[in-house]
C-alpha cells in the first residue's frame, strides 16, 4: 500500500503541471511508463499525441504540416508495399522509384524519413543470413540492398503467419523476399521465417525495412550465405485511431495455427518484452497448468461416462441418482472448487432477511471480483494478455529528453497499441453458478444493496469505472470464425462508440420473461423500502429515453426486450438499454445466451457495463461451447475471441485432449462460484439443509388396447426408419425421424395425442390459407386457371372452416378426421383421400378429378386440436390412471403437486379427468403472458384449495419458485435430463419445508424406456467424449437404439 501512496503524491505533482484535461488514468499510465519518473512522465504527456484520446482525435502536436505532407507522400506512393533503401539514419534522401512494372514483382517505393521519428519509429536491427541466388556478382560489406516483396496478386493467397498449412508449398514461392543492389540487381533472398512475417507487414505499410550487407564472400556463388543487417521501422500512424487496422495476419484463415507477424518479427529481431504477458499462446500449448490435486475435477471427460454405464430400468428399482447425473457431469467439466474457505461478508442493513453463511461467502466473493484489482494497482498492472516492448527508437522530447518508445503487443490477437493496456479492461464480475435452489437471486440482491452504483456506494470510484473500463466490443461480425473482429481491447473504437452512451446507469437485470415478476417481487420483499428503486422495462409502451432507465437503481428487463433493442447493423438504432452505461449487468439464467451466434447472445455481449454477472445453475447445458458465450459476455480475454477459444479449448476438448478441459477449468476457477446442495462448509456440514427428496421412477404398463395401438404405430414407424437406414439417409431425415419418435412418445402418454394434430401450426391462419389458394390462381396461366376454384368458393370453404362447421368427408361420410384441403379447395380426410389414390404421391381429387399431388395438400385447421371428440370419447391411458391414483392419495395430505409434461396437448387432456375427479387445478404454459403467469403462480401459492398445477416442462424450466408444492410428477422423459431436473428442482430449493417427492413416469417396453438409455449416451456427447465422426455415428446408433 505504501507504494500507492507514493503514486498518489507523484500523481498530484504531475497534475499540478499538466492541464486538467488529463485524467488520473492518463497520468498513472505515464508514470508507469517512466517508472515513476515525474519529469519523464510530464514529457510523455506533453509529447505523446495519443495520450489524451478521450476529448479529441489524436494529432501530432508538433509539426502537423510535416506530418500531413508525409502522409500525402505515402498515399501517393501507397501501392502494395514499400521498398526502402536508406542505408543510414537521417539520410533523408529518397530512393528512385523502380519503373519496372513487372506484374509479379511490382515495386513501389515510399519516401522515408526515418529520423523524423513521427512517421516511422525505429524498432531495432537484426542480422539476417540471406542466401545468394546469383553467381559471380559482387557485394561488399556496407552495400545497401533493396528488398523486393512479391505482390498480393502474384499468386494464390500467400500465407503469412501460416506455418503449417495446406497451401504451404503452393504459397511458398510467393513468399520469397529477394534483395538486390542498384549495381548488381538481384543478389539473393532472405530466409522464409523473416519473409513470412515481414511480408504482410510491409505490404500493409505497417513496417518498412532497410538493409545493408554485413559480410559476403568476395565472389558470390549460388546458395552462399550473405550476412545482412536490417533495420525495421514501424509506422506510427497505425497507432492512430483511424488506422486501427490490427497487425494481425492479413490472411485471416481459419487455419488453427494463427501466428501473428508482428510478435514474430519482434522475436526475430531479438527484442524481448520488458514486461511479459502473464500468459501467452505458446504457454497454453506447452505449459501444463498446475492442478491442485485437492481439486475435485481431476477426472477427464471421456472416462466419465465410460465408467458409468447406465442400465436403464432393468427392474422397477428407484433410480436414485438420476437427478444428479447431469450435475456430476457439469462438475467434471467446469470443475467445482472447494469454496468452503471463502470469507463471509455481512450484507448491508437494507437487506431484510438473514443470509446463510454460504450466501455471505458469495457476497464477499462477488464484491471482491467486482473490485478486481485495487483501482490504482489495477490501472498500473499490465493486462495479462499483453506484453510491453521498448523500441530502439528514442523519443525526442522538447527538453532533449530521450526515452524509449513503448509498444504493447497482445500475445493473442496480435494487436498492438501505444496505450497502456491495464487490467481495468479485464472482466469484472463472474459466473455465480450455484446449483438451483441455493438462492442466487437473494445473493444478487444483497450485492445490489451493497453497491447499487447510484450514490450508495462509498468505496467505489464509480465515475471512473464507468468512463474507463468500458469496452464496446465490435461483435457484429462474429459470424466469421476469424480472430479479425471478435471483441478485443479496442482501445480506439471504444472511445468513439462511447459517445452514444450518455447516461450512467445503475444495475440492469436481464431475465426470462417468466421471472420478471419474481425478480421485482423478491427485490421488494427483501430490500428495505426506499433502498432500491426498481423499474421494469418491459412491454410495448416502455420508454425509449435512456434517462428514465438510468434513473432507477435497478432496471429489470427480459432477454426478448434486450434482443429487440439491439441492432446488429446499426448501433445508432439501438434502443435505450444501449444508451446507458450500466454500473452492473446481471444475466439471470445466463445459459439463455449459450448459443453464441444468437441475437440474444450478441445483444447481451454488446451491453455497456462496468461489472458483469452471469447467474446460472447450468453454465453448460449441451456443449462446452455454452461457456464461450458467457466468457464473451464477461469479457474474459482472450476467450471472448472465438478463434482462441476454438483452438485451445473447444477443439482439444472435442478431440479428447484433456488439456482443453483443464484450461477451461483454470479459466473458470477464479471467476466462477459453484456450490451444490451437497457442498459442505468448513466444518464439513452441508451448506444447505433441505428436506429430503424422494425421486422415484414409476414404470407403467400399457393396457392391452394401448399396447396394440402402440405396437401398430411402432411398426409403421420402424418401417419408415428402416427405409432411411437402408438408403443411408438417416441423418438427412433427422427431422422426420424425430417426428416418428415424437408420435411414439406421445402415444406413451395417451393415444389421443397421436391423433392430435401437430402439423397444423403452419396453416392455422385461415387468411393465409385463402391467400395461398388465390395466389395459386393468379400465378397460373389461363388454361389452368379454369381448374382452380373460384374465389367465392374458396372463401366459402375457408369461412366454413373458420366457423368450425363440421361437414363431412365425401368419402367416409363421417366428420372430417385430419382433414386436408386440396388445391381445388375440396376437403377430405387425409386418410380417405390417400386411400383413393393408386400411388402414394399423387392422384385425382375424388370430387372434381383434378390431378393433385400429395405436397399440394394443406392440412385444414380446426378448432379442436384433437381429431376425436376427447370429452365424449374420454378414455384414461395407463399413465393417467396412475397419476389420478397418486393425486387421489395426496388429496387428504393437503400438499400441492406439479404435473409436468412436454406437450400442452397432454395437459389439455389431463384437464378432463382432473375436472371429473373434482381435483382443483391451475395451468401454466407458454401461451400465458406475463401477468397471467404471475396470477397463476400467485394463486397456486396462496389458494389452499388448488392442489395441482399443470405445467409444460419448458414453461417451468426457469427460475420460478414453486416451493408451495412438494410433489412433482414428470409424465414424460425429455431428451435432456438437465431440463427435467431444472424443472423439478423448482420445488426442491430454499424455502421448501416439506419432504419432497418426485415421480417420473416411464412406460415399460416402449421408446420411453429406451430414451433413458439414450439420455445416458447423450451425457457422453455433452461431456464431449466423442469426436465429430463419432457423434454422427452415435446419433445413428442412438436412433437405432430407439427403434429396437
Amino acid at each position: 500500500m505504501g507504494k500507492n501512496k507514493v503514486t498518489d503524491e507523484l500523481l498530484s505533482t504531475v497534475r499540478s503541471i499538466v492541464d486538467s484535461g488529463y485524467s488520473d488514468m492518463d497520468i498513472i499510465r505515464a508514470l508507469h511508463m517512466t517508472n515513476n519518473d515525474v519529469t519523464a512522465a510530464i514529457n510523455i504527456i506533453f509529447d505523446t499525441p495519443s495520450f489524451k484520446l478521450k476529448e479529441r482525435p489524436p494529432a501530432f502536436r508538433k509539426n502537423p504540416q510535416i506530418l500531413s505532407s508525409e502522409v500525402g507522400n505515402l498515399k501517393q506512393n501507397g501501392v502494395q508495399k514499400s521498398n526502402c533503401t536508406l542505408g543510414t539514419e537521417g539520410n533523408g534522401s529518397s530512393c528512385p522509384s523502380n519503373s519496372g512494372d513487372d506484374v509479379v514483382e511490382e515495386v513501389a517505393v515510399a519516401r522515408c524519413e526515418s529520423s523524423a521519428g513521427s512517421q516511422w519509429w525505429f524498432v531495432g536491427s537484426g542480422e539476417v543470413s540471406g542466401l545468394s541466388t546469383c553467381k559471380g556478382r559482387r557485394l561488399r560489406p556496407g552495400d545497401e540492398v533493396d528488398f523486393t516483396f512479391p505482390t498480393k496478386s502474384s499468386s494464390t493467397s500467400p500465407s503469412p503467419g501460416k506455418v503449417f498449412g495446406r497451401g504451404r508449398q503452393a504459397a511458398a514461392c510467393s513468399e520469397i523476399v529477394r534483395f538486390s543492389t542498384k549495381d548488381s540487381g538481384e543478389i539473393g533472398r532472405i530466409p522464409k521465417e523473416w519473409a513470412r512475417c515481414l511480408l504482410p507487414l510491409v505490404r500493409d505499410k505497417k513496417v518498412r525495412i532497410e538493409g545493408h550487407c554485413k559480410s559476403a564472400p568476395d565472389v558470390l556463388s549460388i546458395m552462399d550465405t550473405i550476412l545482412l543487417s536490417i533495420s525495421v521501422y514501424i509506422n506510427s500512424s497505425m497507432f492512430l485511431k483511424q488506422n486501427k487496422t490490427s497487425l494481425k495476419a492479413a490472411n485471416n484463415s481459419t487455419d488453427e495455427t494463427v501466428v501473428h507477424p508482428l510478435p514474430t518479427l519482434f522475436r526475430l529481431l531479438g527484442l524481448s518484452p520488458f514486461k511479459k504477458a502473464e500468459f501467452t499462446p505458446s504457454d497454453l500449448y506447452t505449459r501444463k497448468r498446475p492442478l491442485d490435486p485437492k481439486d475435485s475435477f481431476g477426472l477427464c471427460a471421456p472416462e466419465l461416462r465410460a465408467n458409468k454405464p447406465k442400465i436403464p430400468g432393468q427392474n422397477g428399482d428407484e433410480v436414485e441418482n438420476e437427478e444428479s447425473i447431469s450435475d456430476a457431469d457439469l462438475e467434471n467439466i467446469v470443475g467445482i472448487g472447494d469454496s468452503s474457505e471463502l470469507e463471509e461478508m455481512d450484507p448491508p442493513g437494507t437487506l431484510q432477511c438473514e443470509l446463510r453463511p454460504y450466501q455471505k461467502q458469495a457476497l464477499h466473493w462477488m464484491i471482491q471480483l467486482e473490485k478486481g484489482h485495487c483501482m490504482d494497482e489495477g490501472a498500473m498492472t499490465l493486462h495479462p494478455c499483453w506484453e510491453a516492448y521498448h523500441l530502439a527508437d528514442k523519443y525526442a522530447g522538447p527538453f532533449a529528453y530521450r526515452r524509449d518508445r513503448v509498444i504493447y503487443l497482445n500475445a493473442f490477437s496480435g494487436d498492438a497499441t501505444t496505450e497502456f493496456p491495464s487490467t481495468l479492461q479485464m472482466a469484472r464480475g463472474g459466473i455465480l453458478a450455484d446449483a438451483m435452489g441455493l438462492g442466487k437471486t437473494i445473493m444478487t440482491i444483497s450485492l445490489l444493496l451493497t453497491h447499487s452504483g447510484h450514490g450508495l456506494s462509498v468505496s467505489y470510484p464509480t465515475s471512473q469505472s464507468s468512463s474507463e473500463d468500458i469496452e464496446v466490443p465490435d461483435i457484429s461480425d462474429h459470424s466469421s470464425d476469424l480472430p479479425k473482429k471478435v471483441p478485443k481491447f479496442s482501445g480506439f473504437d471504444k472511445l468513439l462508440k462511447q459517445k452514444n452512451t450518455v447516461e450512467d446507469g445503475g444495475c440492469l437485470i436481464i431475465c426470462p420473461m417468466t421471472l420478471l415478476g419474481q425478480w421485482k417481487a423478491e427485490i421488494e420483499t427483501h430490500a428495505k423500502p426506499g433502498s432500491l428503486s426498481v423499474y421494469v422495462h418491459y412491454g410495448q409502451s416502455r420508454p425509449k429515453d435512456a434517462k428514465i432507465l438510468a434513473q432507477s437503481d435497478v432496471v429489470i428487463t427480459t432477454y426478448g426486450v434486450l434482443a429487440s433493442e439491439y441492432s446488429a447493423e446499426n448501433p445508432k438504432e439501438n434502443g435505450g438499454l444501449y444508451s446507458v452505461s450500466w454500473f452492473r449487468v446481471v444475466l439471470d439464467e445466463a445459459h439463455t445466451i449459450k448459443s453464441s451466434k444468437s441475437q440474444i447472445s450478441i445483444a447481451a455481449a454488446a451491453l455497456v457495463a462496468g461489472r458483469r454477472w452471469c447467474l446460472t445453475g447450468t453454465p453448460i447445458q449441451n456443449n462446452l461451447e455454452d461457456v464461450y458465450s458467457l466468457l464473451r459476455f464477461l469479457r474474459v480475454e482472450p476467450w471472448g475471441n472465438w478463434a482462441w477459444w476454438n483452438k485451445l479449448i473447444q477443439k482439444p476438448f472435442e478431440e479428447g485432449d484433456e488439456r482443453g478441459l483443464k484450461l477451461v477449468q483454470s479459466i473458470l476457477k477464479p471467476i466462477m462460484l459453484r456450490r451444490t446442495k451437497f457442498s459442505t462448509d468448513r466444518e464439513g456440514r452441508p451448506i444447505l439443509v433441505l428436506p429430503p427428496a424422494d425421486i422415484q421412477v414409476i414404470y407403467c404398463e400399457l393396457t392391452e388396447a394401448e399396447k396394440d395401438f402402440y405396437e401398430a404405430l411402432f411398426k409403421r414407424s420402424k418401417v419408415k426408419f428402416d427405409q432411411f437406414v437402408e438408403q443411408g439417409r438417416v441423418l438427412h431425415n433427422y427431422a422426420s425421424i424425430l417426428e416418428l419418435l415424437l408420435r411414439l412418445r406421445q402415444c406413451c402418454d395417451h393415444p389421443f395425442l397421436v391423433m392430435s394434430r401437430g402439423d397444423t401450426q403452419d396453416f392455422s391462419d385461415l387468411d393465409k390459407l385463402a391467400r395461398r389458394f388465390l395466389k395459386g390462381k393468379q400465378n397460373s396461366v389461363e388454361g389452368e386457371a379454369k381448374d382452380l376454384p373460384s374465389r367465392a368458393y374458396v372463401q366459402e370453404v375457408v369461412e366454413e372452416i373458420r366457423k368450425g362447421e363440421q361437414g363431412e368427408c365425401p368419402i367416409c361420410l363421417e366428420a372430417f378426421e385430419d382433414a386436408v384441403l386440396t388445391p381445388c379447395a375440396h376437403r377430405l380426410c387425409r386418410e380417405c383421400l390417400l386411400a383413393s389414390w393408386r400411388n402414394s404421391s399423387s392422384g385425382l381429387c375424388p370430387v372434381c378429378r383434378k390431378t393433385i399431388s400429395k405436397q399440394d395438400l394443406i392440412t385444414a385447421p380446426t378448432e379442436s386440436r384433437f381429431q376425436v371428440d376427447v370429452e365424449k370419447n374420454w378414455v384414461e391411458s395407463s399413465k393417467v390412471v396412475i397419476l389420478l391414483r397418486e393425486l387421489e392419495s395426496l388429496r387428504s395430505s393437503g400438499t400441492k403437486s406439479i404435473v409436468f409434461s412436454q406437450w400442452t396437448a397432454f395437459l389439455d387432456l389431463l384437464q378432463i379427468p382432473l375436472s371429473r375427479s373434482n381435483i382443483p387445478f391451475l395451468r401454466l404454459d407458454g401461451t400465458l403472458n406475463q401477468q397471467q403467469r404471475e396470477k397463476v403462480l400467485k394463486q397456486f401459492s396462496e389458494d389452499s384449495d388448488i392442489q395441482v398445477l399443470l405445467m409444460s416442462l419448458k414453461a417451468g424450466g426457469v427460475g420460478i419458485n414453486l416451493t408451495a408444492a412438494s410433489n412433482a410428477f414428470v409424465l414424460d422423459p425429455w431428451w435432456n435430463p438437465a431440463v427435467e431436473e431444472q424443472a423439478v428442482m423448482r420445488i426442491h430449493r430454499i424455502g421448501q419445508t416439506k419432504r419432497v417427492m418426485i415421480k417420473r413416469f416411464i412406460v415399460k417396453g416402449t421408446v420411453e424406456e429406451r430414451m433413458e438409455a439414450v439420455q445416458a449416451r447423450k451425457q457422453r456427447l455433452i461431456s464431449g467424449a466423442l469426436t465429430d465422426q463419432e457423434v454422427r455415428t452415435a446419433r445413428i446408433e442412438e436412433l437405432k437404439m430407439l427403434f429396437t
Binding site: P810, C812, L813, L828, S836, P846
Partner: protein, 153 residues
C-alpha cells in the same frame, strides 16, 4: 356375418337412401346381404321410358367405396348404352369412378342416362345403329319395350 363388418359408410348411405330417397329412385338392401340392393328407377318424364318402372340390382364390392358398385338392369330395356344382359355403359361405373360418388349419385346418373341416351358410345351395337339411323323408330321401340316389360310391378 357379412353385415356385422359393414363399413360405416355403407350403413350411413343405406340409412340416407331409406330416409331421404331421391325422387324417382328407390333402393333397399337385401335382408341377407346388406351389400346387395334392390333398386327401382322410374323412367324419366319426356323420355321413351316414361311410365316404366325399371328394376336394377346393385352390389357393393368389398373394396367399395374405392371401387365402383356393380349395377345391372333386371328389367329388359331398349337403350343404346344398356345391353341385353342389363349391363350399363357408364363411365363412372368404370374408369371414372370416384370414391366421392355414392349409391345415390350412381343411380341418379343412370336415371339421367335414360333421359339422354348416347348412341356414340354404345354397348349394344344394334340398338345404337338403330338409334342413329332412325331415332324416331328407335324411340318407338323403346316405348314399346317399356310398356311390355316395365309397366306394373
Amino acid at each position: 356375418m357379412a353385415n356385422s363388418n359393414l363399413p360405416r359408410r355403407i350403413i350411413k348411405e343405406t340409412q340416407r337412401l331409406l330416409s331421404e330417397p331421391a325422387p324417382g329412385i328407390s333402393a333397399s338392401p337385401s335382408e341377407e346381404n346388406m351389400r346387395y340392393f334392390n333398386v327401382m328407377i322410374l323412367g324419366p318424364t319426356q323420355s321413351p321410358y316414361e311410365g316404366g318402372v325399371f328394376k336394377l340390382e346393385l352390389f357393393l364390392p368389398e373394396e367399395y367405396p374405392m371401387a365402383a358398385p356393380k349395377v345391372r338392369f333386371l328389367t329388359k330395356i331398349y337403350h343404346p348404352n344398356i345391353d341385353k344382359l342389363g349391363r350399363i355403359c357408364l363411365d363412372i361405373l368404370k374408369d371414372k369412378w370416384s370414391p366421392a360418388l355414392q349409391i345415390r349419385t350412381v343411380l341418379l346418373s343412370i336415371q339421367a342416362l335414360l333421359s339422354a341416351p348416347n348412341p356414340d358410345d354404345p354397348l349394344s351395337e344394334n340398338i345404337a345403329k338403330h338409334w342413329k339411323s332412325n331415332e324416331a323408330e328407335a324411340v318407338e321401340t323403346a316405348k314399346e319395350w317399356t310398356r311390355l316389360y316395365a309397366s306394373g310391378v
